[in-house]
């Protein structure tokens, strides 16, 4: 079994996360990179435990499933932060034109 390249795994996960977050990557970057680095290191540790015969193949599968779920949870948070950023931007834009639009219409529409 070849050794796991932590850096390579990390970079692939970061690219995937960037795809999810697209325009809001800079805001989520510190959190995302930190958590994805932990996950990449864990995958390496699981590989080492397997190589050293300290876990069976069946155990390794459960370990991997746990890491996959953890990664999905991190990516879901990144997606949520992106949606929240979009929501904030829309609401900020509405706030800016609120007075003008409401005055023009004669109603408190916004």
């Amino acid at each position: 079994m070849p050794d796991i390249n932590t850096q390579e795994i990390f970079e692939k996960m970061v690219t995937a996360a960037q795809g999810v977050l697209s325009n809001h990557w800079e805001e989520a970057k510190p959190f995302a990179e930190n958590e994805l680095k932990v996950l990449a290191n864990n995958l390496k540790l699981i590989g080492e435990l397997k190589l050293q015969g300290k876990i069976t193949e069946e155990q390794a599968k459960h370990y991997l499933e746990i890491q996959k779920s953890s990664a999905r949870i991190v990516l879901l948070t990144i997606e949520g932060l992106g949606i929240l950023a979009v929501e904030g931007a829309i609401n900020a834009a509405l706030d800016v034109v609120k007075a003008t639009v409401n005055t023009a219409l004669g109603w408190n529409l916004i």
């Binding site: 958590e35 300290k54 069976t56 069946e58 459960h62 370990y63 499933e65 746990i66 948070t77 932060l81």
Partner: protein
């Protein structure tokens, strides 16, 4: 032309509905609002999982580490996660939190399967412990962001 009382009443109702709609549309909501109960339950569960790993690390080389001694923890955690799943499903626009809870349920189920097989040494625990830490950190981080989002409206 004289309007009937019924027409005037209908007009007033429509105006009130429009006013209510306009108030409700003050801000755009794309994701669920902050739910303090979800936040509280997730934090409680995180503490239970942290306590599980502390206890397991301490007893790893003894009979005390056997699955039977941790069955209560798994039962309680499953109940907590079920409560969280029901709560998450009841909140509007909450797909992300629902999926996070589902993934936590998967994690616990895999952890239980591993514990049933038995842990032979302390080296087996760090990847599990840090995966749960990452998961809880992410869920709590989103809750904190939702909380800030709620403040934005005020």
């Amino acid at each position: 032309m004289k309007l009937s009382n019924q027409t005037i009443t209908s007009g007033k109702i429509i105006c009130l509905l429009l006013l209510f709609y306009a108030q409700a549309c003050t801000s755009v909501r794309l994701i669920s609002e902050y739910d303090p109960i979800t936040d509280e339950k997730v934090t409680e569960l995180e503490e239970k999982v942290a306590a599980y790993f502390v206890r397991l690390e301490r007893s790893i080389d003894t009979d005390e580490a056997a699955y039977e001694h941790y069955q209560t923890f798994f039962d309680e955690a499953k109940v907590d996660l079920n409560t969280l799943a029901v709560r998450a499903a009841a909140v509007d626009k909450n797909r992300i939190v629902q999926e996070q809870v589902q993934e936590l349920q998967n994690m616990l189920s895999n952890l239980e399967a591993l514990h049933k097989m038995g842990f032979a040494s302390a080296e087996q625990l760090p990847p599990l412990k840090s995966a749960f830490n990452s998961a809880f950190t992410a869920i709590i981080r989103l809750q904190m962001a939702l909380k800030r989002g709620e403040k934005y409206e005020n």
